[in-house]
């Protein structure tokens, strides 16, 4: 919320990025079942609070939509809560909010997540509505056009955010016409091209039990859950689901994109293609990136650009590990006049990473953080619920929780150097700079 942002000033960003998934040293007792209709269900019992957190992951994303109808997955997700066979949009929000619960759906690069947070005493109502919006949405014309306009409006408002403008241009440059290169929300033109029949088709193809994972974490016994699943999810019909690409390869070209805006800061994004989540190098890359720019104040980029040079509030690097191909980026904001200096420093740090082995201390610190921070990644029912569906989506296995530490501790200095050379600073980095160009002296490469 805007107000809070304006009132509270937070000092540091710890963006220990690049480890989207990591696990708990204390093993989770996960009860995994597959219903006859193919829905995979993951449950963790936690009776310490009278709440239940539910996450449904559906393989429905820009990967499954035609490029000229970009935004279809997102619009479909938004419309789930806007009308079903027996409930209007007003009924859904009214009923959910009356019990103090929350229910929302949103699409991302690889999947759509539907999350429900509900008090134990209202669990039946919660499951009833959750199942209703996933199984029986009606996508009324009126709601389609209303939501389409709201999405177009917020796309326009996002153009006010320099970081949004930079990130949009960056992904487009890295991925070209591939699905990851588009905004999940689509564009004005593609949104206008989406018709009700497209949404019905998309929903009918993707929203299937055999294409989804459900996690339930909280104050619920297996018996209670099975009875709820029986009543509310057994009627969900399986069907053949669309085949998804396993690897998307972008044709990269060395590019510099300068966008002129009346801003006091240059918003800089530098990067290129990265790696998929399933790549076995993922763990060595996590360690390497922690040292380069993922480890908050422990990272080299933060140490040099913020702490020593005083040229930025935040600078970090990130490997986004998508299912069919990830990206790597370094992003930073600095006053227009310092843009050139900061870019040179980023290039220098990337080059150093590729040339020299990291120190013993750096390696040990990175490993200690990545393994030691496990429990925090799973310290609430909400985090556990979201974690479980991702474990399933990436096929990591329920014992991933136990195996993760060894993946990290086995990384050597040579591994770090090897993956730095392989995944960093290719000959074709993309650079986007949004800001007052007249105050910078950047040249197109």
């Amino acid at each position: 919320m805007k107000i809070v942002r304006a009132l509270v000033v937070i000092c540091i960003f710890l963006t220990a990025a690049g480890c989207l998934l990591s696990a708990d040293a204390d093993a989770l007792e996960v009860n995994r079942t597959v219903l006859p209709n193919g829905l995979t269900v993951l449950q963790v019992e936690r009776h310490n609070l009278p709440i239940v957190m539910v996450t449904l992951l559906v393989k429905a994303s820009p990967l499954d939509e035609p490029p000229d109808k970009a935004g279809l997955a997102n619009l479909t997700a938004e419309l789930l809560t806007e009308g079903t066979g027996k409930r209007s949009a007003t009924d859904i929000s009214g009923e959910i909010e009356f019990i103090g619960a929350s229910l929302a759906a949103s699409a991302d690069g690889d999947y759509t997540l539907v999350s429900l947070s509900v008090l134990k005493k209202d669990i039946e109502k919660g499951f009833d509505i959750l199942s209703d919006i996933v199984l029986n949405p009606t996508f009324p014309e009126m709601e389609i056009s209303r939501n389409r306009e709201l999405i177009k409006g917020s796309l326009r408002q996002s153009e006010e955010e320099p970081s949004f403008v930079a990130s949009k241009a960056f992904k487009k440059a890295v991925y070209g016409d591939l699905p990851y290169g588009r905004l999940v929300a689509g564009s004005v033109e593609t949104l206008d091209a989406i018709q009700r029949k497209d949404i019905l088709k998309f929903h009918s193809e993707c929203y299937r039990p055999n294409n989804s994972f459900l996690s339930v974490v909280g104050d619920l016994t297996p018996d209670e859950m099975n009875s709820l699943l029986n009543r509310f999810f057994s009627g969900w019909k399986p069907a053949e689901v669309p085949k998804r690409p396993s690897l998307l390869k972008a044709e990269e070209k060395r590019k510099t994109i300068l966008i002129d805006k009346d801003l006091t800061q240059a918003n800089i994004v530098i990067g290129h293609e990265g790696l998929r989540r399933e790549n076995p190098d993922y763990y060595a890359v996590s360690v390497m990136n922690y040292i380069l720019g993922g480890g908050g104040f422990s990272s080299r980029l933060m140490q040099s650009v913020r702490d020593e040079m005083g040229l930025a509030y935040d600078i970090h690097s990130f490997f986004a590990p998508y299912k069919a191909g990830g990206f790597f980026e370094v992003s930073v904001q600095t006053k227009n006049e310092s843009a050139g200096t900061v870019i040179a420093e980023i290039e220098k740090q990337i080059e150093r990473m590729r040339k020299e082995a990291v120190s013993d201390q750096e390696l040990e610190d990175a490993k200690a953080y990545l393994t030691g921070s496990f429990p925090r990644r799973l310290d609430t029912n909400r985090k556990i619920a979201d974690f479980l569906v991702l474990i399933e989506f990436y096929g990591l296995g329920l014992d991933y929780v136990d195996r993760y530490p060894s993946y990290i501790t086995s990384v050597t200095k040579d591994d770090v150097l090897r993956v730095a050379r392989k995944y960093l600073g290719t000959d074709d980095p993309v650079m986007v700079v949004v800001g007052r160009q007249a105050k910078m002296t950047l040249k197109k490469r």
Partner: protein, 434 residues
């Protein structure tokens, strides 16, 4: 969100709540609040200092916030940024925030290592270096932070202007991060004086939530903080805001895509007797898609892209009830303002239904319970209430919410949401030549 943060334990009756927090005070005046929660083997340690921008003088705005940054830049024992490195090496995370009323530092980590946080926090309470060269560099960092959060963010700029317009005398009119020219000239000496004046055990309190044993952790706290000396804290004179006598409005022209509108109405701070009804009012107006502003202005009439309301009552001194929105593309700020005013008028004319009030109460109560899912959120709630007088006010807060009637909601709307009590700021997009 300010409201959500102010809310805590819920369906658990006040009895459980009182028992949940254990309170200790060291001889030097340092208060310690501990809530044992053994669901995960982690703990959050927070130390709150009773200083923020409310205590700053003209010409030195942003001092508390810059000092917060300097708290990470080394002590006589450890060099710059070593603090965070030690915490991270141990799998933890640390951060801090400065607000108008307080400055808070926290660490979350495995509960068997929380002693590290205690040692490090006690060290920087007493032994901060504030190196002159580091000061210059960190000043530039904060100036970059200010550019990012305000200069280049049209909606936050509007908010900053709104505070400076709605308040004419009280220090809440100044931004926590400070005005740019002040930040640019803050000195090592000012920072050191500020540190010496406010960072003492009797001007701070500790909150610990997590998998700890209160008695054991108290031994560690006594060993680390017990020898520090109590210091007299001068009473900072805080100017009282004279009452507003008539509507104020202003326009901000800045590069933006869409207009944006914010209204601020002066309201009393919690635990004033009207606080609970104001909270329920803001939830009725703005708590989700079934709330009035969304239903009417976004959904039915399509005047707004988004609209909201928030009672910010968790402050030491009176603050505001905010109402805001973005006009839908093609609509202008005047139409949106008219729509918002009509909604406010409606609730002043007719009390909300029993069911609407019950829904708002259920939302507030449920958010208390959901908040307990997180150790950090629990600690934040305890601390927020402690700043306002006592963590025990959490119980008072919930009792207050439960008692609110439809008539109360109508009464506070009529009392506070008036034209003479209002300041309206409008962002008008100005497309600069490229």
């Amino acid at each position: 969100m300010v409201i959500a943060a102010a809310v805590a334990f819920l369906f658990l009756a006040p009895v459980r709540l009182e028992a949940a927090v254990r309170e200790y005070t060291l001889e030097n005046g340092l208060k310690v609040l501990i809530s044992e929660d053994h669901k995960v083997p982690l703990a959050t340690f927070e130390i709150w200092y009773r200083v923020g921008s409310r205590y700053e003088r003209s010409g030195e705005t942003g001092l508390s916030h810059l000092l917060e940054h300097m708290m990470f830049k080394g002590t006589s024992r450890y060099g710059s940024k070593v603090f965070s490195k030690i915490i991270q090496r141990n799998g933890g995370t640390d951060n801090a925030m400065t607000t108008k009323d307080y400055t808070m530092y926290f660490e979350t980590m495995a509960s068997d290592r929380i002693g590290l946080a205690i040692d490090l926090e006690s060290d920087r309470m007493a032994n901060l270096t504030i190196d002159p060269k580091e000061t210059l560099s960190e000043r530039s960092v904060v100036m970059e932070e200010r550019r990012m959060r305000y200069e280049d963010d049209p909606q936050n700029s509007l908010f900053e202007n709104l505070m400076a317009t709605a308040l004419i005398a009280h220090p809440y009119r100044r931004p926590v991060i400070g005005w740019m020219s002040d930040v640019a000239s803050l000195t090592r000496e000012e920072l050191y004086d500020h540190y010496k004046e406010y960072y003492s055990p009797n001007n701070a309190f500790i909150v610990i939530v997590g998998d700890v044993k209160a008695d054991e952790i108290m031994e560690k706290i006594k060993a680390a903080f017990g020898l520090m000396k109590r210091r007299d804290i001068g009473v900072t004179p805080v100017t009282r805001e004279p009452g507003q006598k008539g509507e104020k409005r202003f326009v901000l022209r800045k590069e933006a895509e869409l207009p944006y509108l914010m209204m601020a109405f002066h309201t009393p701070a919690f635990p004033h007797e009207d606080s609970a009804a104001l909270d329920v009012l803001s939830t009725i107006l703005s708590g989700g898609k079934s709330s009035r502003l969304y239903r009417s202005l976004v959904y039915d009439r399509k005047i707004a892209l988004n609209a909201g309301a928030d009672y910010s009552g968790m402050y030491i001194d009176p603050f505001f009830f905010f109402v805001w929105g973005t006009p839908a593309p093609g609509k202008d700020a005047a139409e949106l303002e008219k729509g918002l005013s009509e909604e406010i008028g409606m609730i002043k004319d007719t009390p909300p239904s029993e069911k609407e009030v019950q829904k708002a109460k259920n939302q507030i109560e449920a958010s208390f319970i959901f908040g307990q899912d997180s150790l950090y959120m629990q600690a934040m709630k305890i601390g927020t209430f402690e700043v306002l007088g006592s963590w025990k006010l959490m119980g008072t807060y919930l009792e207050g919410i439960r008692k609110v009637t439809p008539g109360d909601v109508q009464r506070v709307a009529k009392k506070y949401l008036t034209a003479e009590n209002e300041t309206v700021g409008t962002l008008i997009p100005a497309k600069n030549s490229q």
